[in-house]
């Protein structure tokens, strides 16, 4: 244990990968440019040198084939971690993920499990325009058979991978591109995370804000700003989007009476829509105000900076949604 160990989100992801590769020799990493290039965002830098080309495999540009091969390999008894550069490119492998990974256990009457981890970058904020900026984790969270997780802190970036690998079913890990430079303490290195539980990141008694990804950080910043005005916001990090831990959110709403959901994806059919529905179903009488939602504007993410900024969740937008549910 090293209490002063500060690392970036990117380094934490790498530590998680290193621990996974070192801990089980059935585990291997494959994806585009994960080896020699060091990962398109530098996450796997140095792992090829450390573990060799059998454990860190570069693939051609063939998302459907190498994700499908990951599914087959997982069925066959090894433990692949498949990296897809970004969620936009995962759409080329959507068939394999939804029609195979998510269904094989059920269609085979429980015989064929797919213990596969798929990691991908999600999110906007870097002026990469519409084909590199989307946040589609809510789509995947729609699908029974998949587990969908989103590390939003340094500790979760390091530890979630280990928990995902321990899961007998396919787990999709969404790493937010705007968080790679985030720093935080990692005193004990990667520690497994309870993938069934959301967690309160900041306690408060006035309003609950539930979020993940970059929107979590916008929410924490908004909470800080609102504290100066005497408003105490409780911020819940959802962590797992499927199965969604509504119990933690309901327990928080029971204390605060108010809920705002912030998410990086679009509002229609999003995580906020699902959470608001569940709170209406199971916590209606705890609510003192209608549920508020903050989400990306319903537009493919534009290149121009002022337009991209306006499309995304920001501390200002979260703070005004909080004020709205308080008034």
């Amino acid at each position: 244990m090293n209490p002063d160990r500060t690392v970036t989100y990117r380094e934490a992801l790498r530590e998680g990968l290193r621990a996974a590769l070192a801990g089980d020799d059935r585990v291997f990493l494959m994806g585009e440019d994960v080896g020699r290039y060091g990962g398109c965002f530098g996450v796997s830098l140095g792992l090829l040198e450390e573990f060799g080309p059998e454990r860190v495999m570069d693939t051609p540009l063939s998302e459907s084939a190498f994700v499908g091969a990951g599914i087959g390999a997982a069925i066959g008894g090894v433990r692949p971690i498949v990296e897809i550069m970004t969620v936009n490119f995962s759409l080329l492998a959507l068939d394999q993920i939804v029609n195979n990974a998510a269904t094989l256990r059920h269609m085979s009457g429980g015989q064929v499990g797919v213990p596969l981890v798929i990691r991908m970058t999600t999110g906007a904020g870097r002026q990469l325009a519409a084909q590199h900026s989307h946040s589609l984790e809510a789509w995947y969270a729609h699908v029974p058979g998949l587990r969908v997780v989103a590390p939003s802190t340094v500790a979760d970036a390091a530890g979630m991978l280990l928990s995902a690998l321990a899961d007998p079913d396919p787990v999709l890990v969404f790493e937010h591109g705007a968080l790679f430079g985030l720093t935080g303490e990692l005193p004990d290195g990667p520690v497994p995370v309870d993938l069934d539980r959301a967690v309160v990141r900041r306690p408060g008694r006035d309003v609950t804000v539930a979020a993940h990804g970059a929107a979590l950080h916008a929410s924490l910043a908004a909470a800080e700003e609102l504290a100066a005005d005497g408003v105490e916001v409780e911020v819940v990090d959802l962590r797992t989007l499927r199965p969604l831990d509504h119990d933690t959110v309901l327990a928080s709403v029971r204390r605060t009476g108010r809920l705002v959901v912030a998410e990086d994806g679009w509002r229609s059919g999003g995580i906020g829509a699902e959470l608001a529905a569940r709170v209406a179903e199971q916590g209606f009488w705890d609510l003192d105000a209608p549920v508020g939602r903050v989400a990306a504007a319903e537009v493919p993410i534009p290149y121009a900076k002022q337009l991209e900024d306006a499309a995304l969740v920001s501390p200002v937008r979260v703070a005004s949604a909080v004020r709205a549910v308080l008034s």
């Binding site: 398109c40 051609p60 540009l61 080329l92 990469l128 325009a129 084909q131 290149y303 900024d309």
Partner: protein
């Protein structure tokens, strides 16, 4: 046409000028990226100019073009104004895509330019469809589709090749083989590195061309275009080339060595063609200086225009998601 065939001086000078415009434009973009006037991902075409310039000079106004995220050269060679492309790099309203697309998504339907596509392989099916429309409408045009050799590993490449050949569609597939897909060398991504052979297996004429030699590219394209226009179906050209710079602005280039880059730099398509034209007496120092001055002035003008361009008000954010009816968004 190889190095032995004579170069028509007028064509040579035209190609030289077109390549120099792309080169100087992109060099300025790299500077502007460092000063943060341009953001996002920017993929430079430096070293590969002979491909877009040689191919697009051989097309007609009714033809359609589909490109990738590495699209500045194609846009300029297709006739988009340097002003409109630079304004797009700045995200301004005057940009060819209204500032919504940026470097990777240059569009200009008026020039038959159907965009830079940033999903590897994503443009190929579109090109097949544009060609299907051209045939159904009897427009007489053909579609030229540019993509990198990395795309050859994607399913969309194979599905598109098959469809185009099966339906005898007027598509010219131009594979820009610069040997690397980001950090992945061709031999580490293809079981058979002879891409023309792969294409030929779909039943279309396919051959390799020296993509560092602009007149040779032009000559090969003219032949290919004539075949495609005649209605015999698609043609595939594999253009051997090399990118001199990083994959994008972020790339530590750990995957190739300097000597290899230097060897290819010795074959710089602009210097090679300039030397040929000098040998023919079609270019001298004064001619070169005049060309440089003309291009520099155009780049300066494009930058000034982009800087003075309009920042779109955020109230317009959700425009262009659906067709506008009576001037308002759906």
């Amino acid at each position: 046409m190889g190095a032995d065939a004579p170069v028509d001086p007028a064509l040579g000078l035209r190609l030289l000028r077109a390549m120099l415009r792309v080169r100087r434009f992109e060099e300025r973009c790299a500077e502007l990226y460092s000063s943060t006037a341009i953001r996002g991902f920017v993929h430079l075409y430096v070293g590969e100019e002979a491909v877009a310039v040689g191919v697009l000079d051989a097309l007609g106004p009714d033809d359609a073009v589909v490109a990738t995220y590495r699209d500045h050269g194609h846009a300029l060679a297709r006739g988009l104004s340097m002003r409109s492309v630079m304004a797009e790099m700045y995200g301004k309203v005057e940009g060819c895509s209204g500032g919504r697309g940026g470097s990777m998504h240059l569009f200009d339907v008026g020039h038959g330019f159907y965009g830079g596509n940033a999903i590897v392989g994503g443009g190929l099916p579109l090109a097949v469809g544009l060609a299907l429309a051209q045939r159904r409408t009897g427009s007489g045009g053909i579609t030229v589709c540019f993509f990198g050799e990395g795309a050859v590993a994607e399913g969309e490449f194979h599905e598109s090749m098959n469809l185009a050949a099966l339906w005898d569609l007027p598509v010219l597939f131009c594979c820009e083989n610069n040997l690397y897909a980001m950090g992945t060398a061709l031999e580490r991504s293809e079981s058979n590195v002879d891409l023309a052979v792969k294409a030929a297996s779909y039943g279309m004429p396919a051959w390799a061309v020296d993509g560092m030699d602009a007149p040779a590219v032009h000559h090969a394209t003219s032949r290919a275009v004539a075949a495609v226009r005649s209605g015999d179906g698609p043609v595939f050209l594999e253009l051997h080339t090399y990118r001199f710079r990083a994959h994008s602005m972020y790339d530590p280039e750990r995957y190739r060595d300097h000597e290899e880059v230097d060897r290819w730099r010795d074959r710089d398509p602009i210097e090679t063609l300039a030397a040929t034209l000098r040998g023919l007496g079609a270019l001298d120092d004064a001619g070169w200086d005049a060309l440089e001055a003309e291009v520099a002035a155009e780049v300066d003008d494009a930058v000034a225009h982009a800087e003075a361009g309009t920042v779109e008000p955020v109230e317009d954010l959700t425009r262009h998601v659906y067709a506008e009816r009576n001037g308002t968004a759906l």
